[in-house]
């Protein structure tokens, strides 16, 4: 299977020189897709997976719809996908949104692509790669697609995995991550491109499966026999020996986890070449590592562990200051502290609201003009919201310093607020001023300050 992918890559590179003019339009298309990721809306994340799919399918199908010969059309599609992936990997700040959109899609239903590219002919000619350094860099990043088996690919210095063609490639994102973690690729990757790319690798994998399904006659080297799958076999020629050594290093054998062995509905390479791959809905394909048990229980455990660690990573990004923390336990402690402080903060703020003297007509004005009010609130851009938490600074193992505000006129104590730190100087200073004013308000409860005139609600601005 690596050979097939390598082949496609080879073909793509071949036609790079001839298809230069189309690269620009592909990039424009990818920008459009990228804009889908730049919309960090949790609520719409469920819906955004669909725009992504539709964008992808539209992008995929649009060049195919154009009047190009089918052979080159496929390569254009391939390059599209690779270009798009490259853009995704390049833009690290889209990680959160892509991650949210992908974490919300259930594992068992990867998106369906309406690919119209179906006829990949059997290429039997190998042509030398054109020197495309940008493409080489991108291809090196995508070593999770296990591009191997060609002496021509050695220049990319990729190490691949054993991939059994019969296995369907519909892995969950974490499996791609796990197998890519062990590769000896020369490219150092941060976790975000991995996640972004692995999220996309589901769509990618369906594409690749189509490709590999066509090339049954390829020689492939396999380490383990999958259960119940007929496969191409024979050890490759001497030309593949170099790559074989790489295979040994990264050594993972793929095993399939069948909840329902009686089904046997996993993809074989002999599946109908004319229909798009149907994602298996009732079991998850897992790749087992060398030296690890391959029974279904431990596989399921591993999948769960990887899911949990993926979510922990996401939480690590949410909670400020958790980048240096290693280990789940400490991370969880930090998360607990953060949630507690957020809840206390909401309590504190609502208390503050309660102490403000009720305003009658102005409140009604606010209510009537509440359409403009959210705009006033948006004047603080969304990046300020995460920094909102009163200069929250996680302390590892050290109890948080707490300052307690007690209003004299009231017998009860306000919920304590975490200590102000210099971590967020802008935010911290604002909160300090504001809290001082609160204390003043609390003390001077019986003599409310009255401001002359009313401030128009739409003109409230906070300058950071």
């Amino acid at each position: 299977m690596e050979k097939d992918k390598a082949f496609i890559m080879a073909e793509v590179l071949n036609r790079t020189a001839t298809r230069q003019p189309t690269w620009n339009e592909l990039n424009c298309a990818t920008e459009q897709v990228g804009s889908y990721f730049l919309n960090p809306n949790w609520d719409n994340s469920m819906d955004q997976s669909d725009p992504f799919e539709s964008a992808l399918s539209s992008m995929v199908s649009s060049p195919a719809a154009s009047s190009v010969p089918p052979v080159s059309g496929e390569n254009v599609l391939m390059r599209e996908l690779i270009g798009k992936l490259g853009n995704i990997c390049n833009s690290g700040d889209t990680f959160n949104s892509t991650h949210t959109s992908f974490s919300n899609t259930p594992l068992n239903s990867p998106p369906k692509l309406n690919l119209s590219m179906v006829n990949f002919p059997n290429h039997s000619t190998l042509a030398p790669f054109s020197a495309d350094p940008e493409f080489a860099e991108r291809a090196a990043r995508f070593s999770s697609f296990s591009i191997l088996n060609d002496p021509l690919m050695d220049s990319f210095k990729l190490s691949g995995n054993q991939v059994n063609g019969s296995q369907s490639i519909q892995n969950s994102p974490m499996e791609w991550n796990s197998c890519s973690d062990k590769k000896n690729s020369g490219v150092s990757r941060s976790s975000s491109p991995e996640n972004a790319e692995s999220g996309v690798s589901k769509e990618e994998s369906s594409v690749f499966q189509q490709i590999t399904a066509r090339n049954d006659a390829r020689n492939r080297k396999r380490k383990s026999v999958p259960r119940g799958k007929a496969k191409e076999t024979t050890p490759p020629a001497a030309a593949d020996d170099k790559v074989a050594s790489e295979n040994d290093e990264s050594n993972s054998k793929r095993s399939k986890q069948d909840v329902d062995t009686g089904n046997g509905n996993a993809k074989t390479a002999n599946d109908g070449n004319s229909k798009p791959p149907e994602p298996p809905k009732d079991y998850i394909h897992v790749r087992a590592r060398r030296g690890q048990a391959t029974d279904s229980h431990s596989l399921a455990e591993r999948v769960r562990r990887e899911k949990i660690s993926e979510r922990m990573k996401f939480l690590q990004d949410l909670v400020p200051g958790c980048n240096k923390v290693t280990g789940k336990a400490v991370m969880l402690d930090e998360i607990i502290n953060y949630v507690q402080s957020l809840q206390r903060q909401v309590e504190f703020l609502s208390m503050k609201l309660a102490t403000v003297n009720p305003m009658t007509d102005i409140a009604k004005d606010m209510f009537q003009s509440r359409v403009s009010l959210p705009q006033g609130i948006y004047l603080m851009d969304s990046s300020a919201v995460p920094a909102f938490a009163f200069g929250y600074q996680p302390q590892q193992g050290i109890p948080l310093t707490e300052t307690q505000f007690s209003m004299k006129t009231q017998g009860f104590q306000l919920p304590s607020v975490d200590g102000f730190t210099d971590a967020n100087p802008h935010v911290g200073s604002i909160w300090e001023d504001d809290l001082q004013s609160i204390v003043q308000m609390g003390v001077g409860q019986n003599q409310p300050q009255s401001y002359q005139g009313s401030i128009a609600t739409g003109q409230v601005k906070i300058e950071l």
Binding site: I336, V339, L373
Partner: protein, 162 residues
């Protein structure tokens, strides 16, 4: 600060609209003279409930914690009414389908203590396995920050307006 990414249907706007409406209902009948600590405390409770409820309503039932919050608020208000008649309603959080309990045994030992604490913090977290719990926590954190932010801004506005 750019106004380009205003989303009228985003979490912020939905929460803000609801919260403001609740605020006006709370503040409207009061007169200026009511400034005793008890009144203020009552008002604080109502504002807090309004904030929580409006946040939970903004999320609807898409999340387990929002459903749990709404359920808890409803049963609390119900039980408060019933207590006056001498009955005590048993407040029990509704348990969602707890699947994967057997998985907890494998991993639960490692993170048991913190997972329990987190379950107490996140509403509705008692009946979730760790995986979903972390999902809910992430969304809950995001909504809490939005809530605090909007309450703060509302407070500033009210303070500035009076």
């Amino acid at each position: 600060m750019d106004l380009q990414n205003l989303n009228p249907s985003s979490l912020k706007s939905r929460f803000t609209a609801r919260f403001l409406r609740a605020l006006t209902e709370i503040n409207a009948p009061k007169t200026i003279s009511s400034s005793s600590p008890r009144e203020i405390f009552q008002r604080y409770r109502r504002i807090k409930v309004a904030a929580d409820k409006s946040m939970a309503y903004s999320v609807r039932s898409r999340r387990i914690w929002s459903r749990a919050t709404l359920w808890r608020l409803r049963t609390r208000s119900r039980s408060r009414r019933l207590v006056s008649f001498g009955r005590r309603a048993s407040v029990k959080t509704r348990t969602t389908a707890s699947h994967g309990k057997e998985n907890k045994e494998h991993h639960g030992a490692v993170l048991g203590v913190q997972a329990e604490e987190l379950r107490e913090l996140v509403p509705g977290g008692e009946a979730m396995d760790l995986c979903n719990l972390l999902d809910e926590t992430a969304h809950y954190i995001k909504c809490l920050t939005t809530q605090g932010f909007c309450v703060y801004m509302g407070g500033l506005l009210c303070e500035g307006c009076c």
